[in-house]
Amino acid sequence: MPIEKFSTIISTCVPMPIENVDTDQIIPARFLKATSREGFGDNLFRDWRYDKNDQPKADFVLNNKTWTGTVLVAGKNFGSGSSREHAAWALYDYGFRVVVSSFFADIFKNNALNNGLLPVQVSDGFLSDLFKEVKADPALKVKVDLENQTITLMSSGKSENFDINPYKKTCMLKGYDDIDYLLSIKDNILHFEKNKMC
């Protein structure tokens, strides 16, 4: 499915200073039974967000109106575990467009990029400062500029560059997806196949 073009985002942040957030937490397996990709946001972080009677847990950040926005800030090694793309769909469907962490699991990172959700990997120091500042001031905004590959704290102007594969960056900025590209090189693929068989 073609992805939405990513333009510069200025938003408040939702802080989740937990490390090793695995995709089973992002979307538990029992919610993977749908055959379409829509609606997973309702069950995003289901077991952290709701108790067993489906009542919101007051101490979970998504249930706290103090922190809102389209930027999720999470601890190291975000998105580990299962390859379920549903995790990226759930975050996107809920409204997140950026996840900031000091480390991302590989498969999650690919899945996010394939769905217009931008993983922004920052240094441990920047992440730690971001957590502190957001906690102190929930109105603090960050600016995520993909073109220039920078994330900036709007209050202090503190800024850091982040890496992204140049090809993926173009895809995100222009809303291209990999299948468009693969279809465009179909002749090369067929040629490769033919030579491989020999």
Partner: protein
Amino acid sequence: MAGKTLFDKVWDSHVVEKIDKGPNVLYIDRHLIHEVTSPVAFTGLERRGLKVLRPQQTVATADHNVPTTDQHLPIRDMLSRSQVDKLTENCKKHDITLYGLNHPYQGIVHVIGPELGLTQPGMTIVCGDSHTATHGAFGSVAFGIGTSEIEMVLASQCIMQPKPKKMRIIVDGNLKKGVTAKDIILYIISRISASGGTGYFIEYAGSAIRNLSMEGRMTVCNMSIECGARGGLIAPDEVTYNYLKGREFAPKDEDWDKAVEYWKSLNTDADTAFDLELRYDAADIEPMITFGTNPGMGMKIVDNIPDGSSLAENEKPSFFKSLQYMDIQPGTPMLGRKVDYVFVGSCTNGRIEDLRAFAGFVRGKKKAEDIVAWIVPGSKQVEKQAREEGLVAILEEAGFALRQPGCSACLAMNDDKVPEGKYAVSTSNRNFEGRQGPGSRTFLVSPLTAAAAALTGKITDPRDFL
């Protein structure tokens, strides 16, 4: 010229093109699909008006979402049923071979690939499941992909991937009594952490790896993702060829000889550098168990639970949150802790050798009364073999029943859910919060350690029985 690693040889021979400052376009030999991560890919394909480019290179099975009892009846859970039906419909429409429920080849996707000989050295293999690394045990480059990537493979038989970095983990020496392949990989992950392998593809080498059976090698490669690595692989050798020979889809006759000749070239050249190389001594490995909520939180079963004092300040909150979820105290022993459930199965330890190990251990003994045990074969063929070898009779004599094949309590999408607050000793691969059911608590172990717990109702060193 510097040599090439096994990984380089397989990867490089499948690169259709390299995008400047971008990923490689990688050709995929074998694509495995299942009911949970494929439906949206087919929808996407149809929305674009595309057909599956090479339907004969994709094979499907139903495993994640299926019940492990009464498989001859319609699936009761309507959502699960509709997902399995959707897979059947998609396979029919696109001419893809499906080993669905009740087919003699049905089973966990990573168990059936090898046992049918679909998995072969030198192949690129992908599946919408992170444990696809299992197939690396044959010297293939195998890794898990997301649903967008499944759609890419269906449409073009290719995916776009940056080439990972290379790591080699060498385990030399002889394993001690009661120590299995599962303990090797739990040990490695406990040493390098749940994220230590991220960005890498791991080659496992050394005499302790070489001495493992194919089943054991699969167990090791299977959990590569649990340290963050996209995949893991082991150079093929006589053990590999002997396992594959005569299997349904393995090459036959002259093709076999040609294939083996090629497979013999699949090893890492002597003068090759890795981005990272780690060495462990097999003699240092003991029966392992996890105590926390990621697979990196593992320890020797005889040790006390770490107290977290050696951790960096920013790591402590997550560590203690994890222990709080597990309701266990730092500094206390694992041995003797009461257990409620025992799960033997999954793509990590649901193969015939695992059932043999478990049955051999409990033979002539009795299951602890207050333990609920789920023994789930990895496939219909494993189930059949277990019956033919008399393992089912041994299990039943000891108070255990063999269920029907599927992923079962590994991810608890079906009814096999560990209840809230209960402790499960599990041969599966993930101890995440709620992985085996909302509120469930998991200790990952080998089949032998699972057997010991099933007999005593407590966490027990399997060596006490050996």
